[in-house]
């Protein structure tokens, strides 16, 4: 559904690889996480904490909070405001964040 606009030297930007739900996704340096996921054909970023229904990126400018994902273990991250980084681990945000006592603290540093 979404495709990249191959203009302004975008094709020359370095390829970085992120991990989404244990699959490798190729992105371009300077992409937001939301742009990288949309370009890879992902449209469910999270499930609603209220109804459980699937949600995806909408405003792409930090306002609507529809694009929340988990990044490197920290929940409720706005995918449209974070830039991809090689090796970044991204997962769907399943409802509200859970604080799993088994996980070490400190993951929230954005």
């Amino acid at each position: 559904m979404f495709r990249r606009l191959e203009r302004h030297g975008a094709a020359e930007r370095r390829i970085v690889t992120i991990d989404f739900e244990d699959e490798k996704i190729a992105a371009r340096r300077g992409d937001t996480v939301a742009a990288a996921l949309l370009a890879a054909g992902v449209d469910c970023f999270r499930t609603s904490a209220v109804s459980g229904s699937e949600r995806g990126a909408y405003c792409l400018m930090g306002i609507c909070f529809e694009c929340l994902v988990e990044i490197d273990g920290a929940g409720n991250q706005q995918a449209c405001l974070r830039l991809v980084r090689d090796g970044m681990r991204v997962a769907r945000q399943d409802g509200a964040v859970a604080l799993d006592p088994a996980k070490p603290p400190g993951g929230a540093a954005a």
Binding site: N76, P105, A108
Partner: protein, 374 residues
């Protein structure tokens, strides 16, 4: 701007005033609530939301009794309010904890609870203590910080959504035919022939009974009603986290998770006059205490911080005052607008409407602050 009349006029649209107004409107009286505007200090909009019993009333046995009655009346009060307005105030009544960080804090809490217990009849003060493993049993979804050695527990404690409570009280008044008038700060008060007249910028109102429940806005008004009521402001600050899955099934004295999932962290007691701004030092202290109790909270982001001014008296206990000559004016100051809403809507209304003054109100008269010449 014609004159409006009502059986009872309430000055103050926060929690104490509307609770009385709701109770009076249910009784079939015509009610008008006169409120200021958003320039008011609005203690009712900064509330933590506890419906709390344990730990209150040291040195004032009547307040233990009053709070006990309030907690007993809360389940019916919340049920009636929801039935009449359709607004669920998210009342929980599964008990509450006061956490103790360190042995010294636990020992101090034991002394404090023990002293209050000695003020009331044996066996009537059901506040107990949990050791660390029992606290973990009450909060199975969270890891306890190393310094959390125990807690006091009362099954009478609980919480609610204080903003929904305020909305439900307002709605209840309207449904029973009452009126709410915002932007009607009362500028002057006069009395003639059994009628009190409240002068506002937007009209004049007349009533045989006027209840002054305007929080920090009371000082000027009460003198005009012949009541001498000292009001003290105390700042409290609160932090709020992003929404998380349910992890705290019961409220604690400074930490509670709302029905929507946010976790509220409190709280400070500061004497800074009418300064209701937040400070980074207080936010730091609140956050540190919270992660000391529950280290995983460090992984949640904070989304809001606010400060509010509690409405207190010099000894922190309520004042319920009735004017004598002329009669018909009442002043109500009580910090615990949430906890006491259930008795404010019932017992206070019986006092004002029927003259049934609860015996324990002797303890809540303002003349306890009048210093005699030595």
């Amino acid at each position: 701007m014609g004159t409006r009349t009502a059986d009872i006029i309430i000055v103050g649209g926060g929690l104490a005033g509307p609770a009385i107004g709701y109770g009076a409107a249910r009784r079939g009286l015509s009610v008008i609530v006169l409120d200021e505007g958003d320039v008011a200090f609005r203690a009712a909009r900064a509330n933590f939301g506890l419906v709390w019993f344990q730990g209150k009333g040291l040195g004032m046995p009547s307040y233990v009794e009053w709070t006990l009655e309030a907690s007993r009346r809360w389940p019916d009060f919340a049920a009636d309010l929801e039935e009449e307005t359709g607004i669920c105030v998210a009342y929980r009544n599964d008990g509450g904890l006061h956490l103790c960080l360190g042995d010294e804090a636990l020992a101090a809490r034991r002394r404090h609870i023990g002293q209050i217990g000695m003020q009331v009849k044996p066996g009537e003060y059901d506040v107990g203590f949990l050791d660390r493993s029992e606290v973990q049993g009450a909060l199975p979804a969270v890891r306890l910080g190393d310094r959390l050695v125990g807690a006091s527990f009362s099954r009478r404690d609980g919480d609610c959504n204080p903003l929904r409570l305020m909305r439900a009280l307002h709605d209840g008044i309207l449904r029973h035919g009452g009126a709410y008038r915002p932007a009607h700060k009362v500028l002057d008060l006069s009395h003639r022939g059994g009628t009190w007249t409240a002068h506002t910028a937007n009209g004049v109102f007349e009533t045989p009974r006027i209840v002054l429940a305007a929080g920090l806005g009371l000082a000027d008004l009460t003198a005009k009603a012949g009541l001498h009521v000292p009001v003290v402001a105390e700042r409290g600050q609160i932090l709020v986290t992003e929404r998380a899955r349910p992890m705290f099934p019961i409220p604690m004295s400074g930490i509670r998770q709302t029905a929507e999932g946010t976790i509220m962290l409190g709280v400070t007691n500061e004497h800074v006059g009418h300064d209701d701004t937040t400070t980074t030092s207080a936010m730091h202290a609140i956050a540190r205490a919270a992660v000391t109790a529950f280290p995983e909270l460090a992984r949640l982001r904070l989304v809001r911080a606010w400060a509010g001014l509690r409405v207190l008296t010099p000894d922190k206990y309520p004042i319920y005052a009735a004017s004598e000559n002329p009669p018909g004016a009442y002043a109500v100051i009580s910090h615990s607008g949430v906890t006491l809403a259930s008795v404010n809507a019932t017992r206070l209304v019986s006092w004002i409407v029927d003259g049934e003054r609860p015996a324990l109100f002797t303890s809540f008269r303002p003349d306890r602050f009048h210093v005699q010449a030595a």
